[in-house]
């Protein structure tokens, strides 16, 4: 399986069309979501990564780029073990972030 974000003309991200409302709600629930500096620590430490490509970094980026579907597919394998919160240099509460995403975003997303 491959959930990386490939850039091809048809899948170009159009920021004008990205729905920012849900992300704003997520930001209210977990303000630290904007602190991510995309270092990738969470990805490489994640035990679910080898099964579904789960990466909190990609989740945060994907939600801001309108890639909800890919994000939810990745998150299906999250075990909530908290390793990502342990290694995050910015001290983001990733477990609360993940639970908030599960609450705010849904399967019926585009």
């Amino acid at each position: 399986m491959d959930f990386g974000f490939k850039l091809s003309p048809s899948s170009a991200i159009n920021l004008d069309k990205v729905d920012t409302e849900k992300f704003a709600e997520l930001h209210r629930a977990e303000p630290d979501v904007y602190k991510c500096m995309a270092c990738g620590s969470c990805t490489s430490t994640c035990p679910a990564n080898r099964f579904s490509g789960m990466s909190v970094r990609k989740v945060i980026l994907g939600l801001q780029r309108g890639k909800e579907k890919e994000v939810i597919a990745m998150m299906k394998n999250c075990m909530l073990c908290g390793k990502c919160s342990m290694v995050c240099p910015r001290g983001i509460n990733t477990r609360h972030l993940i639970l908030s995403i599960c609450r705010i975003y849904g399967e019926d997303m585009k």
Binding site: P47, F51, I72, N77, K83, G91, N93
Partner: protein, 620 residues
């Protein structure tokens, strides 16, 4: 003895009778509802336990010791214990002796039985000149004095709680205050009322003496009725507000104890056993001082006593906030005198949260995972190659992957002891499921448990060794691993030393042991790590240890506490550990170790490191 009134009735009994009937009715309805809310299986278990002599006896014993004598509070603080048992036991004895008195002196009561034991002195004049009379009068006055002394202490406690070993107490709600003031006034009013009648109906050292001392006032029988009215009103008010105040714990606790002894667990977040726990909370506030989050003033309202209050009020927003913030260290549960399980109650609240999507681990292949740790099975993957020898499967756990020093030291000890071992998660394993469980997502946790069970059962091991207490707890409680011994590394090391498989040289370092929440309170492992440390050096104790050990603050239990808010808790826990100035802080949990070493002023090590440093292969 003589009946003073032919009718045996006066209007002043009405407030009491109404209040009494109301509270009895309320409790009866509540009792039936709670029992009906239990799952059918639990209900059956409960009824069976009520007729099983062993649990029945235990119920009676527990109710007597806990509800009346308050032994747990005595163990904590003598003065606080006396305050509680004097009011509870004293009042109980007043009721018992009152009934005996009524039984001895009157017959054919009818409806009067409702209030006669309470207002006996008003209706019946009795002589204290016989031995029987004197004794009963004395007992009644004595227990009244006991209760009064308890009430006096309760008033002092409101002002100076520190005298009772409590730094902080609960902020009472409005109705709690009404209940409290009416309770406080019941007994002085009773004393006053009985003193009025002491020269007519008799009395003992307290009532009679008062009657003599205040001759002008108390011997003027014109003033008698208002006092009896006031006494009855105080009782009536207390009973009417009781269901809506913390005093509801008095009847509920009598139900909670048989529930607990029947082995019932929380299933529904708000109903049945959970409800019984919430209503059993006496709002004593012992959990406020115990809570590790309490070092920050802003967290005081997030302790278990306030959770119970908010659940009773159905304040959903606050229930969610309080439940999600908690570190789940379990200390409030450990010290709660009535046995409210603050941690389990919170997990239950988390479990009712609605999520739009869950997890699906069906793409994880357990058989592929087994191939990564299949040392003990034969090539055809069907049988164990060495069935008679010990075969240890070491599950280091997610957190240990971030503290490689623990895994390295453990492996080194295993080699020295000649243990045949295999690592289950060398390149990362599957989470044990405990963090998911703590978030209240039981179905997801169940899926992880199933995957890991398949891997462990397929590995051919006979022992599962863990170095992370978070994993250990769930492996012990939620996994079914027939034929496999689940053991934490502290216990395994202790065993290696005791059986002579490891030779330890004792050094002069002073170690303090931090009891990790999940290992100590969670699994009851306190002595084994101390044995190991004592054989390696000098063991000193923290100011608060064992069941009262303070959470490091790094717990995965909290969902919302952000990293920067935890610092104060860690520093407080460190101050507790270093009270006896040890050279080194030793723990047995990778998470505690990481958290402490961030702020500690001295080395923080895992027990495996300590043992590895000073051990060699043993004689056996």
């Amino acid at each position: 003895m003589r009946e003073r009134f032919l009718t045996g009735y006066n209007d002043f009994v009405l407030p009491f009778v109404c209040g009494m009937l109301f509270v009895l009715g309320y409790c009866l309805v509540g009792l039936v509802r709670i029992i009906m809310q239990l799952p059918a299986e639990d209900r059956k278990k409960f009824f069976i336990s009520l007729i099983t002599p062993k649990t029945l006896l235990k119920n009676i014993k527990d109710i007597f010791l806990k509800c009346l004598i308050h032994v747990d509070i005595w163990k904590r603080n003598k003065l606080l214990g006396y305050m509680h048992s004097s009011i509870a036991f004293g009042w109980f004895m007043l009721i018992v002796v009152g009934h005996i008195e009524v039984f001895l002196y009157t017959s054919d009561l009818g409806a009067k039985a409702l209030y006669y034991p309470i207002f006996f002195r008003y209706f019946v004049a009795e002589t204290e000149s016989t031995m029987k009379g004197a004794l009963i009068f004395f007992l009644m006055d004595f227990f009244l004095l006991v209760v009064l002394s308890g009430i006096a202490l309760a008033i002092i406690k409101r002002v100076r709680s520190r005298l009772f070993g409590m730094r902080r107490t609960t902020n009472p709600s409005f109705l709690d205050l009404i209940g409290q003031y009416s309770l406080w006034s019941i007994f002085p009013l009773r004393l006053l009322a009985e003193s009025f009648t002491a020269d007519i109906s008799g009395g003992s050292f307290l009532t009679k003496s008062l009657n003599y001392v205040f001759t002008e006032f108390l011997s003027n029988h014109a003033n008698m009725l208002p006092a009896w009215w006031a006494y009855s009103c105080a009782l009536g008010i207390f009973f009417v507000v009781l269901p809506f105040t913390r005093y509801m714990h008095i009847p509920t606790e009598i139900l909670l104890i048989p529930f607990r002894n029947a082995g019932i667990k929380i299933v529904n977040a708000r109903k049945g056993f959970a409800k019984a726990q919430v209503y059993s909370c006496p709002s004593c506030g012992l959990c406020i001082d115990a809570c590790p989050m309490g070092v920050l003033k802003g967290n005081i309202k997030d302790t278990t006593v306030y959770l119970n209050r908010q659940i009773r009020r159905n304040n959903e927003a606050r229930i969610e906030e309080i439940s999600d913030k908690c570190l789940l260290c379990g200390k409030c549960t450990a010290i709660c005198p009535v046995g409210v399980e603050g941690d389990k109650l919170r997990i239950a609240q988390r479990s009712v949260r609605k999520y739009n999507f869950g997890s699906d681990y069906s793409n994880i292949s357990a058989s592929e995972e087994i191939l990564r740790c299949n040392k003990f099975v034969n090539n055809n993957n069907t049988s164990v190659s060495n069935p008679d020898k010990e075969r240890v499967l070491y599950f280091a756990g997610c957190m240990t992957a971030l503290t490689p020093v623990i895994r390295k030291a453990t492996e080194s000890i295993l080699s020295k002891a000649g243990t045949d071992y295999e690592i289950m998660d060398r390149d990362g394993g599957i989470c044990c499921g405990r963090p998911m469980l703590m978030a209240g997502r039981f179905d997801q946790a169940r899926q992880l448990i199933e995957k890991n069970t398949e891997i462990i059962m397929g590995s051919g091991a006979d022992t599962l060794l863990l170095s992370c207490p978070i994993c250990y707890k769930i492996f012990r409680e939620h996994y079914a691993l027939p034929g496999i011994r689940v053991i934490h590394h502290t216990e395994y090391f202790d065993e290696l030393i005791r059986t002579g498989r490891l030779d330890v040289r004792k050094g002069g370092t002073r170690y303090v042991f931090h009891d990790p929440c999940e290992l100590g309170r969670g699994c009851g492992v306190y002595d084994e790590p101390r044995n190991v440390i004592s054989s390696a050096g000098e063991l000193v104790e923290a100011a608060k240890n064992r069941k009262e050990s303070i959470c490091c603050g790094g717990s995965l239990g909290s969902l919302t506490l952000s990293f920067d808010k935890r610092k104060a808790m860690t520093e407080n826990a460190l101050a507790n550990l270093t009270a006896d100035s040890p050279d080194e802080i030793v723990t047995a949990c990778p998470l505690c170790m990481t958290t402490f070493s961030r702020y500690a002023d001295r080395p923080v090590t895992d027990i495996a490191q300590v043992l590895d440093k000073c051990s060699g292969p043993g004689r056996n």
